[in-house]
């Protein structure tokens, strides 16, 4: 099997998607006494090319998928997909984290379960926690939240659709308690 270097992987993605790659970074970590190192690639890609990027990734080697993490940035929601390539041999594995951004007014992303079936659980979590529509994934009752959880409320959103932490006496204060000490005091 031919192993590509992290730089070559980034070149491959840049060659295919050009300006769609917003940012790329290689992180190298040294560990142990012998200071052996491994690499982590961070790729930021525009939403319209996201699925093609995963397809390209699958053509290198069937990747291992770990999880999706999300972050509400205000105007948009950032999703990071964690993959790894070249597992199975010592020091060869490369982590590849692909970031994409979904605008708040149109929270849609197409499913990648047709490419990697193991992503289903994580996609469902993104649906429930961030209110993202994943196109191509059949409807299902809540996996993580209670079945009777409030509609159109998403725990990890930081806007009006999120759940607001309560102050000590049970009143809504919004956002993060620690960030809004004054408001908490007012309510209390």
């Amino acid at each position: 099997m031919k192993y590509m270097k992290p730089e070559e992987i980034i070149e491959l993605f840049k060659g295919r998607f050009g300006d769609s790659i917003i940012d790329s970074k290689i992180e190298s970590k040294e560990e142990g006494v012998k200071k052996n190192s491994y690499n982590i690639i961070w790729l930021m890609i525009k939403l319209e090319n996201f699925k093609d990027a995963v397809k390209l990734l699958c053509s290198i080697q069937f990747p291992h998928f770990a999880i999706i993490s999300g972050n509400d940035l205000g105007e948009e929601i950032e999703l990071i997909y964690y993959f790894s390539l070249y597992y199975g041999e010592r020091f060869k594995e490369i982590s590849l984290n692909i970031t994409t951004f979904l605008p708040k007014e149109d929270l849609k992303i197409s499913t990648i379960t047709d490419l990697i079936p193991g992503t289903q659980t994580a996609e469902r979590e993104a649906i429930e926690m961030f209110g993202i529509k994943v196109e191509g994934l059949p409807d299902s009752p809540n996996l993580f939240l209670p079945k009777d959880f409030a509609k159109d409320t998403y725990p990890f959103r930081r806007d009006e659709k999120g759940i607001y932490p309560l102050s000590k006496n049970g009143k809504y204060v919004g956002d993060n308690i620690a960030k809004r000490e004054e408001e908490v005091k007012k309510v209390e």
Partner: protein, 407 residues
């Protein structure tokens, strides 16, 4: 004549176990035709809670994600924060972390072996193996002060050193396990009844394991050589030659059944003993933590900006944490993923076509918490009659099957 199937929901909650979950089975006769998983009954919102706390406080929260993996989650979390904030861990601390993590793997795998024996109806083996597990728990208590929730991990290192006079006690435990390993192997791998109940039961093919992104011993038993300690070695693993263990090392073939999962876990037990031994032999001297003063560390983390991923091979598979620090006391994002999350989907191909009496051992074979076994309802669709099977009844079914097929 149309095929009449029964629907059996199993689960969801037993408060004392960590992963309550509901299974809905469509049963035709004794055979499972369809499996539906419904987790989430015990979603505690730990990530949300974590985002209201500072990173040092999160370590102790992460420790409590799982009672058995209480070294794995803080390990992965501390690595994520160190990567995000650019903190270098002293070499000695890297070795101590690995020693604790491997001792945890020993107790976790023995615990699993006992549970598996119990599911098959060998309660005496459960007692024997859990008695054997006490030895490593005592050692962990001796080293860290606690049997579980060790509280030894800290961002930038570990909180307690392993001193010269503690090492003989560790070696004594290693010797103890080397002595009894032959017995454990004898019981689990040479017993004809265990082989009858586990061979060709709950098969997960290599293709399915890859497609469904299974992790840990579940994936390795299906022939996927995936182990972060080997693929992307971190901490002291980077100095040791750890190899992913697949069942063909011992048996010469890979079937991906429950038996293979037993083989992999038992071989990993030996591997863990070797790793701890190597770590003790090569334990470097020096500091055990990058920043001793907590206030200073918290200030450093408050000013830090960046993102980091930490991965650790927990006893059940890959455990991954992601953190984003944004020049604030609290992290902007914390995402934690436990191994069973990825192994969830692997249950479906394993359970299809199996018998009801095999449900306990197949579900236990990926080493989840079998909280779900608490109660079972058998619903006869035609007359709406409900029969409730308790864990005891289901267990009894499994025991009966063992008796039935034992020559």
């Amino acid at each position: 004549m149309s095929k009449m199937t029964y629907s059996i929901p199993i689960g969801p909650v037993h408060p004392s176990l960590k992963e309550p979950m509901t299974f809905n089975f469509e049963i035709y006769g004794e055979r499972i035709e369809k499996v539906n998983l419904a987790p989430g009954d015990n979603h505690r919102g730990i990530e949300f809670m974590g985002m209201q706390r500072n990173p040092v406080q999160i370590i102790y929260l992460a420790e409590r994600i799982c009672g058995i993996c209480s070294a794995s989650h803080p390990f992965a979390f501390c690595k994520a924060v160190e990567n995000a904030a650019g903190i270098e861990v002293p070499e000695r601390a890297q070795y101590i972390r690995v020693i604790i993590a491997e001792l945890e793997r020993i107790h976790s795998h023995i615990l699993w072996a006992g549970v598996a024996a119990h599911e098959l109806g060998f309660d005496s083996v459960l007692y024997i193996s859990w008695r054997a597990r006490e030895e490593v728990l005592d050692l962990l208590e001796y080293l860290t002060g606690n049997r579980i929730n060790y509280g030894i991990f800290m961002i930038g290192g570990v909180r307690r050193d392993i001193t010269e006079d503690q090492i003989p006690r560790i070696r004594k435990t290693l010797e103890y396990y080397k002595d009894i390993y032959g017995k454990i192997e004898d019981i689990f791998l040479k017993d004809p009844t265990i082989a009858l109940r586990t061979k060709n039961v709950g098969v997960l093919t290599k293709e399915d394991a890859l497609r469904l992104c299974a992790v840990g011993p579940t994936a390795r038993a299906s022939g996927v050589k995936k182990d972060i300690r080997q693929d992307q070695p971190y901490s002291a693993y980077a100095d040791l030659n750890v190899k992913a263990i697949t069942p063909d090392v011992l048996t010469g073939e890979v079937n991906g059944d429950v038996y293979d999962r037993i083989v992999v876990r038992l071989l990993e037990l030996v591997q863990s003993l070797e790793i701890v031994e190597q770590c003790l032999d090569n334990l470097p001297s020096g500091e055990i933590i990058a920043e001793k003063k907590l206030v200073k560390l918290l200030n450093q983390l408050k000013r830090a900006k960046g993102r980091g991923v930490g991965r650790h091979e927990a006893p059940r598979g890959e455990c991954i944490h992601y953190i984003k620090l944004n020049e604030s006391e609290l992290p902007e994002v914390w995402k934690a993923r436990a191994p069973t999350y990825n192994n969830l989907m692997a249950w479906v191909p394993m359970l299809l076509g199996q018998q009801i009496a095999d449900i306990p051992i197949v579900i236990a074979s990926i080493d989840p918490c079998i909280a779900c076994m608490d109660r079972v309802t058998i619903l006869n669709k035609d007359n709406g009659q409900k029969n409730i099977l308790t864990k005891k009844d289901l267990h009894e079914l499994s025991v009966q099957k063992t008796r039935r097929i034992t020559p």
